[in-house]
């Protein structure tokens, strides 16, 4: 029943410079902030959850159009990007390890690698986005469904062996791209926020901020980074691999 870690005589850590005034012990502080970070991730799950629900509904309704539209996404680029992101999660996990091991140099290397991999991910994503704009697959007034009504006109659709779709079905591909841009866009926004924090951490780590034995900041950022990674791991099969088994 007692998950509270407040104790009446937890004065052992009283002089730790990392103990904030309102906590009784470092254990309680770590316990509380760790729990808070998980709760924050839960709100993120609910946020993306709403969007995933929307996607699943329309994918069920307009399966044919979603399949054809997903063929326009490059599995190679998406797959490479998945690897890039998973690797960055690995280097982030290493960063936490090196922070705990108080190895400043290795910590910095890991943080910088994570950041660089993030940039690489954004770059590849940018290439993919540009292709969509060039082919007028960005939803809006200039949207073109030529590739779906007449797959012969489009190299990618031809390679995937798409059959021509009736106009009313092909129209629904726009919804797929709407969701594609909304979902990957919100994922990107989270990446950008994470990379902002990473920059800040690289800056602070240079003056030895996280190699003093108090690693919770790095650890919790790691949680966040892995979460953003997991979102992508779900997005990749949902968007790229609809009918490729």
């Amino acid at each position: 029943m007692s998950d509270s870690t407040a104790t009446a005589h937890g004065h052992a850590d009283e002089h730790s410079p990392f103990l904030r005034h309102h906590f009784e012990s470092l254990e309680q502080q770590a316990d509380a902030t760790n729990f808070a970070m998980w709760l924050f991730l839960l709100t993120e799950v609910m946020f993306f959850g709403g969007l995933f629900t929307v996607y699943m509904i329309y994918r069920n309704w307009y399966y044919q159009a979603f399949v054809a539209a997903s063929h326009q996404l490059s599995v190679t680029l998406g797959g490479v990007n998945s690897c890039v992101l998973i690797t960055s999660s690995f280097t982030m996990a290493l960063a936490v390890y090196f922070a705990e091991a108080k190895n400043k140099k290795a910590l910095l290397t890991c943080l910088i690698t994570t950041f660089t991999l993030g940039v690489l991910f954004l770059g590849i994503k940018g290439v993919e986005y540009r292709e969509k704009f060039e082919k007028h697959h960005f939803p809006g007034t200039s949207y073109s469904m030529e590739a779906f009504t007449n797959p012969a006109s489009d190299a990618v659709a031809t390679a995937a062996g798409d059959k021509p779709l009736p106009v009313d079905v092909a129209q629904r591909t726009e919804l797929f791209f709407s969701l594609y841009f909304a979902m990957t866009g919100l994922h990107l926004a989270h990446m950008l926020a994470g990379m902002g924090i990473l920059l800040y951490m690289i800056f602070r780590a240079q003056s030895g901020a996280y190699t003093t034995g108090h690693v919770s900041y790095v650890e919790y950022f790691g949680f966040y980074w892995h979460f953003v990674d997991i979102v992508w791991i779900l997005l990749f099969p949902l968007l790229y691999l609809i009918n490729r088994h």
Partner: protein, 560 residues
Amino acid sequence: MSAATIVSLPDQATARIPKDNYLTRENGILSWLLTQDHKRIGILYLISMTFFFFIGGALAGMIRLELLTPQSDLMAADTYNKVFTMHGIIMIFFFLVPSVPGALGNFFLPMMIGAKDLALPKMNLASWYFYMAGGILALWAMITGGVDTGWTFTTPLSTHYVNTNVITTGLAIFITGFSSIFTGLNFIVTIHKMRAPGMTWFRLPLFIWANYAASILMVLGTPVLAIAIVLVALERAFGIGVFDPTKGGDPLLFQHLFWFYSHPAVYIMILPGMGVISEVVSTFSRKRVFGYTAVAFSSVAIAVFGFFVWAHHMFIMGVSSYAVLVFSLLTMLVAVPSAIKIFNWAFTLYKGSITFETPMIYAFGFMGLFTIGGMTGVFLGVSGTDIHLTETYFIVAHFHFVMVGGMLMAFLAGIHFWWPKMTGRMYPEKISQLAAVITFIGFNFTFFPQFILGTLGMPRRYASYPPEFQVLNVLSTAGATILGVGYLLPVLYLIWSLKYGKIAGDNPWQATGLEWQTQSPPLTENFAVMPIMDHEAYDYEWLERQTEARQKAKEVTSVG
């Protein structure tokens, strides 16, 4: 025994407000704006939400004034749409949702569990800044053209047909959502990890249980509202089509997402109020809350059921009739835990030593009005009657009985109850009792006629109405003016009491909560020594023994 009272104040001739307290420890505007003290943040919330309450109230006054006559004469129909929309948005997102958690919860939650502060003080301060940023942006949207979709942002009206500040207002609500999430998150972590030794889950005051349940709703529900608003904004800005039938989207999907938050949101609003009522009813009938465990779990039950009833807002919107059936049933289930609370409060009163101080009068008002509001909710949950009553004044009356008659009464009960602890001074008793009664009378005059109007078929959200409805509308408007007086009075006498109120002492109500066992106003760190909870919640015998022991100790020292 008409003058019976439990108030026990120190000798006014010698009593002093303790020199060192959270108000005097630091001075200057920056010490407030950069504070991480949960009590000061609570006060910041209290001041700012009072401001928003009166803006929302002024808009409500304009609505009632317009409805004094059948024609649309005070303002054009367009303006009327904007006025009721802003009334809804301000009252819900900037007053009701943050009211009790923001002001009273921030202030008292850590004290009641015997902690020095909330677990994340910086995040707590950030939540107030997000709240203010959202609020100011909403006001900005209002003065630069307003928004006229109703507070529900119903698609496709909000995405395609109106040309008002939908995106700005949506952004304002999005930002305020963070404040809600931060508060809820903070509360959950604090309740789990920061309880004083001996403060087990079933020794927690019921105010804590209620806020815990509301926090779960905030944390799980608010993000879904956020994504719904983001999609509306994307639809307006880029035409992404998820809610646009011409592109294969479904406007109904927006309603699912919106009400997935916004139905639980009414429990976010009411649950903390129920927590206040539990504290007040117990204190002023000198009894442990009857069926403590049942009341505690009913809060959690409301939070759980609250997530599975959202589609009852959509019975007439074209959801399948099987869905209507299921959601209708689930809606009636959620009435059960609410009823458990009401019955348990009634049994707490039974054979208690009841006194009628102001918080208790408000609590009685709550119990009566919330019961009416709750039971008319069952009419609306039954799909057969809902088809006739929804979108009429019946639903307006129902909602206001629950939110104004319930929540606002509870908020005022809480403010009066804890005012002595927050400020160290008592509010003037007689005039505040009068204000409570005026509020109750004014409220009934305002909203009871609306039930009748609704059953007669007067639709909501129109600036004009058929002349045969005028009598009841005049009654309602007249009631609103009385209600206005009832809300203005507390502001005046509470401010007055800051300087001229009697000195309250530590525990004017002889209440049992830990927050009453320290000085008022409290120290910045709340307690001089960390409290150890060695008794059950609402144990008035323990309190008596404490008082006796203290008196004995005093006698000994004076003899010695």
